[in-house]
């Protein structure tokens, strides 16, 4: 069969299928999202499901594994913090069917709030860990992860990074392994994790890790690549291996590590002894370097290579060689920055304009999703954001701190529909129970938008393309016990209704909820309805007041002293700019 060209994410999905995996679950998060999206194409063989958050995903996976199925569970690096609780306990309990947890890390913070190095989770949670360096290895290591998980009775962390997930390279395809789902047996001494069980399971885990370390030094995933006469030895793993090869070629020998927990200490010692100069090349934390140093081996690593940011060949070359930086072309003319923006027609824009108009009366707090783009000037849509769900919980504490310093502004938090289902619901329970003096906003655009439109509990169909029950978000909020007078459901593109809801929220002492409801304009059905529609500005009527520019719509431009719809193809005729214009200069076309 011809090799296929696949991204790391696609190859992991393919590997799960070839390995006979029958259950897969995840919460979307860049750069991990495409793993489950691609698993879904194997729906004849694999049951796949978006969980409402990573902890739920890991628990679905735990149940599937104990039940006897081979299960894959994928998340982005910060998602693993959410899922850490069940994952640590599964580290003690071990598995029945093989359990593979994919952590997709994001060195360089391409689309994340931090660049934490989740390799550190492996020793902490006592998981075995594999680190693929390209798409072929993504597939091979996924298959190996299932096998090792069952052989050593341990969940396996498959740790990848953005550059591995989103790079495409060649992959040899094989057939699916016909692995039967294992018999489920009641084993409370293994799986009912009470103190007595935990104490005995911990001892067993330490013993199994010792056994696995022996294997680690002899396995096919950790190996030397010796170049004749090379005086430099490089110890590396994952994408850093590719950068190392790019820089040193055959002028160095390599210890390429794929099974990076438990680390092959014997192999590392043997390799290190052969070289006067030993480099440890890795992204972010000195995970390998610390292990090498613990063996009493001196090496060069983070004293020369950065801890912060994504690595590339030039950074490695600059840090570890005398080679000059390649010559290039330069010009003094600079390109203006091009930050990502809310799309033309995005329903969040009406919400954020209302926030900006009321900035003296509220302190807005953001969260993770498309609406994070609302932070930019001139909308200045929020002051801080932390993690999924914090938009609705941090405002409880913020409201107390504001009150204690005599600041009369009301704390206002926001989450999207998917973030609400993820963990915002817990935050809102505490908002209601603590009678916090806050405005909690749920921006419901009927989809998990930022990661590329994944289904969530509020959508009418699921990942496998089947119709599914829609969790009623408004009914859910009402069920928490807030009176109708404290809940508003509004169309965010209706600026008068938005302002009225905001006025009521500011005037009401105690908890107040605003739910904005309008689907994302990129949803195919919505896009089809908007096709051909756009706004048009009459230059005769435009008085150049620039009020329409305040909503920062990418379809509008101010050219030659007049506002104009510069990009009608992208305009959806949402009408927000019309509401801004006092002179009636804007009209809808094609409606």
């Amino acid at each position: 069969m011809n090799p296929a060209i696949m991204s790391g994410d696609e190859a992991i999905a393919r590997g799960a299928w070839e390995a006979g995996c029958t259950v897969a679950t995840a919460y979307p998060g860049t750069p991990s999202t495409e793993i489950l999206e691609n698993v879904a194409q194997y729906k004849e063989d694999i049951y796949s499901q978006w969980a409402c958050n990573e902890k739920v995903a890991a628990e679905i996976a735990a149940g599937a594994s104990i039940g006897g199925a081979r299960v894959l569970c994928a998340m982005k690096h910060v998602g693993m913090n959410v899922a850490a609780d069940p994952i640590f306990t599964m580290g003690y309990a071990g598995v029945n069917g093989g359990m593979v947890i994919v952590s997709a890390d994001d060195p360089g913070c391409h689309s994340s709030q931090n660049e934490q190095d989740n390799r550190l989770y492996a020793p902490h949670a006592k998981l075995a860990m594999l680190e693929p360096a390209d798409s072929q290895e993504c597939k091979d290591y996924t298959i190996a992860a299932f096998e090792l998980s069952e052989k050593y009775d341990v969940p396996v962390l498959l740790r990848v990074t953005t550059r591995v997930c989103h790079s495409k390279s060649l992959v040899e395809l094989e057939k699916r392994d016909s692995v039967a789902v294992k018999q489920y047996e009641r084993k409370p001494e293994k799986y009912a994790m009470l103190p007595g069980t935990a104490r005995s399971r911990h001892v067993i885990r330490e013993r199994l890790l010792e056994e696995m370390e022996e294997y680690s030094s002899a396995c096919p995933y950790n190996y030397e690549e010796i170049s004749n006469g090379a005086k430099i030895g490089v110890i590396t793993s994952g994408i850093s291996y590719q950068h190392s090869r790019e820089v040193f070629g055959d002028s160095a020998s390599y210890l390429k590590l794929g099974l990076t927990y438990p680390l092959p200490r014997k192999l590392i010692k043997n390799f290190a002894e052969k070289f006067d100069t030993l480099y440890v090349i890795e992204e972010n934390e000195p995970y390998l370097e610390n292990a090498v140093r613990q063996l009493g081996i001196s090496c060069v690593g983070k004293q020369k290579l950065p801890i912060c940011g994504e690595l590339n060949a030039q950074i490695v070359r600059g840090a570890l060689t005398e080679a000059s930086i390649p010559e290039t072309y330069k010009t003094d003319l600079a390109a203006p920055v091009r930050p990502p923006v809310l799309c033309a027609g995005c329903p969040h824009r009406g919400f954020f304009y209302t926030i900006s108009k009321n900035s003296k009366k509220i302190v807005p707090v953001g969260d993770i999703g498309c609406y994070a783009l609302g932070v930019a000037a001139p909308l200045n849509g929020f002051d801080f954001s932390i993690c999924m769900g914090a938009g609705l919980s941090s405002i409880i504490g913020l409201s107390k701190a504001l009150e204690q310093q005599g600041d009369s502004r009301k704390a206002l938090g926001m989450v999207g529909d998917s973030t609400f289902f993820h963990s915002g619901i817990n935050s809102l329970i505490d908002v209601v129970a603590s009678e916090a003096n806050v405005i909690a906003c749920i921006l419901d655009n009927s989809i998990t938008a930022m990661t590329g439109h994944q289904e969530n509990p509020g959508t009418a169909h699921n990942l496998m393309g089947l119709p599914s029950p829609q969790v009623n978000l408004v009914a859910m909020v009402k069920s928490l016990g807030l009176g109708e007078d404290r809940i508003r459901v509004v169309d965010p593109l209706d600026l008068d209704a938005m302002q009225k809801a905001m006025d009521d929220g500011i005037a009401t002492e105690g908890p107040f909820v605003i739910i904005t409801k309008r689907p994302c304009i990129l949803i195919k059905e919505v896009a089809r309805q908007n096709s051909g529609k756009h706004c048009k500005i009459d230059p005769e009527k435009c008085k150049s007041c620039k009020m329409c520019m305040k909503i920062t719509c990418p379809s509008l431009a101010f050219v030659g002293g007049k506002a104009t719809v510069a990009d009608p193809a992208n305009c959806t005729a949402c009408g927000l700019c019309m509401q801004m214009c006092k002179f009636g200069a804007i009209e809808k076309v094609g409606v």
């Binding site: 060209i5 790079s167 060649l170 994408i239 010559e327 330069k330 990009d567």
Partner: protein
Amino acid sequence: MTTSILLVGVGGQGTILISKILTAGLVKLGFDVKMSEIHGMSQRGGSVTTQIKYSDKVYAPNIGEGEADVIIAFEKAESLRALPFLKKGGTMILDEREIYPMPVLTGVAEYPHNAIDALKAACPNITVIKAAQTAEELGNIRAQNIVLLGALTKVLGLDGVDWKELVAEYVPPKAKELNLKAYDAGQALQAQKTNA
């Protein structure tokens, strides 16, 4: 020898689609290929970069400053941003299409309308292709990417694979005819530039 190609543009311009077509063709030609794209927040109208490297064996998927043999820029300001990645002696093909970023729309920043003059003063191998205009004349500006693909395969001299068959395979069926014309137009435009 590894050939490194950098494609730069703005979210929504179709850089990723032509990267997929190019990569598929390179695989058919028997090369080891790596293609790296960073997406996520960049889908929302931000700058988009795709990197393709091919050779007998490719290691790192990404391209550093001064390492690109060919840069294809879908937008004028993005061509300026990409210039430092061009290798000495490398070629840049750019479309003069202007898409204004938010700071320009709100009047906070100036758009570099004279970018092409600055690029030509800095670098000898700058080719301007009116890809967006050509695509619009053919019927849809969205075919801009395929015009540029036509120019790119001409520059790279990648014969031995039926590129038009690949284009037909990757574009939506109803846009097939338009895109095949767009590919031919791109080839012709680049041929004119090379002969000129």
